[in-house]
């Protein structure tokens, strides 16, 4: 937090209890100050226990798993050899690594671009109330409300090469059937299409509520000045929506990086790894085989955590900049 914001925040966030703390300028009886400190610590305990038990410990275990050479025997009986970054070296050298990383990046960026653009277009469309607009908007939320296993299974039926609806429609307009889920060229495209469909409602909802906060007078003034629809969008809507857009994109980035279920259900990351991302690869290593490879699996998982937390840090920075006066 910058010096400027802290100074600005101070007066408004100071609460009555804060005066009693150790930093109070006026001298106070030591006993009371200490007892209140204890109470303060006691308040921290539940959240600290929660954080330790459900975040710090699993994270520590995951890092530890990735730094040791675990076999099934040493997983159960202990005594796994410490190998330092051996597992990381192994996965970086694995021929599956570069494709998985590329697919993760392509999957995330393409999904985000389309989700955001379509979500924004729909949000602008629904910004004006018209008959049935609420009903239509509710319908657009359906992908969000469905359990992922339902949507992913439905997509794999739709995209089935021989009996799917998608190819039936293509055939009607004279395009030969596409091997959506079963060819290395199309499998990544197919899972991206499904993921875009699932992500649109989130973008629609957040951007739509962002639009509500743009004052209507601005548009009236612009109309009087003779601005057309496009100009209104690029000069009013888009700039004023920027903070909301940044948050939407960053949250979307974190959500999309870790997408696993859709890909696993639709293609198992295949055929031959052509739609495998780091998330499915990590699962494949740890659980997708009769003989689990926990060490390399955890290492891939940690790489994903690093990528997601980098995005998280950017998010926090952006958020901070927004709340600055």
């Amino acid at each position: 937090m910058s010096q400027r914001t802290r100074a600005a925040d101070r007066p408004s966030v100071r609460r009555p209890g804060e005066n009693a703390g150790a930093f109070s300028p006026r001298p106070r009886p030591v006993r009371r100050a200490r007892s209140e400190q204890w109470a303060a610590w006691a308040f921290l305990v539940p959240v600290a226990v929660y954080l330790l038990a459900f975040f710090a410990y699993p994270l520590y275990r995951n890092v530890e798993l990735s730094l040791r050479d675990y076999t099934v025997r040493s997983f159960v009986h202990g005594g796994a050899k410490f190998t330092g970054l051996g597992n990381y070296a192994k996965i970086l050298k694995d021929p599956a690594f570069v494709p998985a990383l590329t697919h993760t990046i392509v999957f995330t960026l393409v999904s985000l671009a389309f989700q955001f653009t379509i979500g924004l277009a729909l949000a602008v469309f629904f910004a004006r109330a018209f008959p049935l607009s609420a009903t239509l908007r509710a319908l657009f939320l359906v992908p969000w409300l469905l359990p992922l296993i339902v949507s992913a299974s439905t997509w794999s039926w739709v995209l089935n090469t021989d009996s799917g609806v998608a190819n039936a429609v293509l055939q009607q307009i004279g395009i030969p059937p596409v091997t959506w889920l079963t060819s290395p060229t199309w499998s990544l495209v197919s899972v991206i299409i499904a993921n875009i469909w699932i992500g649109i409602p989130f973008n629609l909802v957040v951007l739509h509520s962002g639009l509500q906060s743009i004052p209507g007078q601005l548009y009236e003034a612009a109309q009087i000045d003779g601005a057309g629809g496009w100009q209104q969008f690029w000069r009013i809507t888009f700039p004023l929506l920027r903070p909301v857009s940044a948050i939407t994109l960053l949250l979307g980035l974190v959500y999309t990086l870790k997408v696993f279920d859709i890909i696993w259900i639709m293609t198992r990351g295949g055929p031959t790894g052509s739609s495998a991302t780091l998330a499915t690869w990590s699962y494949q290593l740890s659980f997708g085989n009769l003989l689990p490879a926990f060490g390399p699996g955890a290492a891939v998982g940690n790489l994903l955590i690093l990528m997601a937390s980098a995005a998280g840090l950017v998010y926090i920075r952006v958020q901070k900049r927004q709340y600055q006066p």
Partner: protein, 417 residues
């Protein structure tokens, strides 16, 4: 001291107390099972979530517990979950007393030191078919008893074959099968469906053809192996098998067959009940080997095993439970419930007497072999993954069968070094 501070402190202390109490309760509950050896509660895990407490299977578990003088606590898991759940439980010293687990996992769990060997707990396995026991034998030791077996064979749709003019008795080897598929396609129906998904299921389905060609799992790129993969690849190219097999699980493959459009489906014993409900006449033949005869299909089905416990005194009761679950009388009931073939010749004879159509399955099970057998043990998973990847590569057209299999052999050799 001001009143609000007092109240806050009180709440704080209460919260600390709550958290501590909760943590203590969580720790103590895990000790519940490690009680005394005689009497008490015995924990059984199985991969049959489809059976609830009113089912014959769960009643049998209860009866076996009563006979042994203990209470049985049964938990069902999804079969894909069971391996990691068991490894985690063993890590915490919390493994179940009796574990019923898919046969290729036995070698992994034995390798992990989670299972007791059959000598240790004196399990009598003399009546069991040796080819079924194979999956549980690792480095000269045997682990567990097969509760029942299943394997793969070819279901065929009688009316589709009749319409295409195919006589099923003419299907004896790969060439005659392919010829039959060609006739079916010419008659406007679909040929064959199977599962070539990129998981263990895909390897399981490919193995009858792989072994039927004479190939061996230690050499994935042999000319025999290439001929097996070429057979599947050509079926796809010719349109005898649908492209969807690349992503089919055995269940989705069965759904395709159940539409009545397909002449053949490679599927397991467990679909018998569904086949009867399919609404068309069906028959079953064993998967043919390349030059005729029956190909060895992989054995499916679970093993009853006894995981290692801290209190070794518990093994006596666990052994009684296992013996009860696998004895001749119960075996008939169990295998009927699970739609499995019994692991002993005596019970197989009874099954065939009750349902003559099981004869095909019994001979298929006799010809079957364990995936982790041939002393492969925990090497099998490291070979199986490159194998299913090669199958996917060839079927999806990203490599020709020979190239896909030589990549697979290189990967398997590196992994099992």
């Amino acid at each position: 001291m001001n009143p609000s501070a007092t109240r806050r402190r009180a709440i704080g202390i209460a919260l600390v107390a709550l958290v501590t109490a909760g943590a203590l309760a969580a720790c103590s509950s895990s000790d519940a099972k490690t009680g005394d050896a005689a009497g008490g509660t015995y924990v059984i895990w199985d991969p049959y979530p489809q059976f609830d407490d009113s089912s014959a299977w769960v009643k049998l578990l209860g009866d076996c517990g009563t006979k042994a003088g203990v209470v049985v606590k049964r938990t069902a898991f999804d079969t894909t979950d069971l391996t990691s759940k068991t490894l985690l439980a063993a890590q915490q010293g919390n493994a179940p007393d009796v574990l019923i687990v898919d046969n290729p996992v036995v070698s992994t769990l034995a390798e992990a030191g989670v299972l007791t060997s059959s000598d240790e707990i004196r399990l009598d396995t003399s009546a069991i078919d040796p080819n079924l026991l194979g999956a549980g034998q690792i480095a000269g030791k045997a682990y567990g008893i097969p509760i029942g077996a299943n394997t793969l064979a070819l279901y065929y749709n009688k009316s589709v074959l009749a319409a295409a003019g195919v006589d099923i008795t003419s299907v004896k080897d790969w060439a005659s099968l392919t010829a039959a598929l060609a006739k079916v396609k010419a008659a406007g129906k679909k040929g064959i469906t199977f599962s070539a998904i990129g998981t263990e299921e895909g390897s399981f389905q490919f193995l009858p053809w792989f072994w039927g060609s004479g190939a061996d799992l230690t050499k994935l790129d042999s000319p025999e192996a290439v001929s097996a993969l070429s057979l599947w690849t050509d079926w796809l190219k010719q349109g005898y098998a649908p492209n969807s097999v690349i992503n089919n699980t055995q269940t989705t493959s069965w759904q395709e067959f159940a539409t009545g459009q397909f002449a053949f489906a490679e599927n397991g014993t467990w679909q018998r009940a569904n086949a009867a409900k399919a609404g068309f006449g069906y028959g079953i033949i064993a998967v043919p080997a390349r030059d005729g005869g029956t190909a060895a299909a992989p054995t499916g089905g679970e093993f009853v095993t006894v995981p290692v416990q801290k209190t070794t005194a518990r093994y006596a009761i666990s052994q009684k439970l296992v013996a009860c679950l696998t004895d001749t009388d119960n075996s008939l009931a169990t295998t009927t419930t699970l739609s499995y073939i019994a692991p002993t010749a005596a019970v197989q004879a009874k099954q065939v007497a009750a349902a003559p159509d099981l004869a095909v399955w019994v001979s298929a099970v006799k010809a079957a072999k364990g995936r982790t057998g041939d002393n492969l043990g925990t090497k099998y998973p490291k070979i199986s993954q490159p194998l299913w990847t090669a199958v996917q590569a060839a079927l999806s057209g990203s490599a020709n069968p020979a190239a896909a299999l030589s990549t697979a052999q290189a990967a398997a050799a590196a992994a099992t070094k």
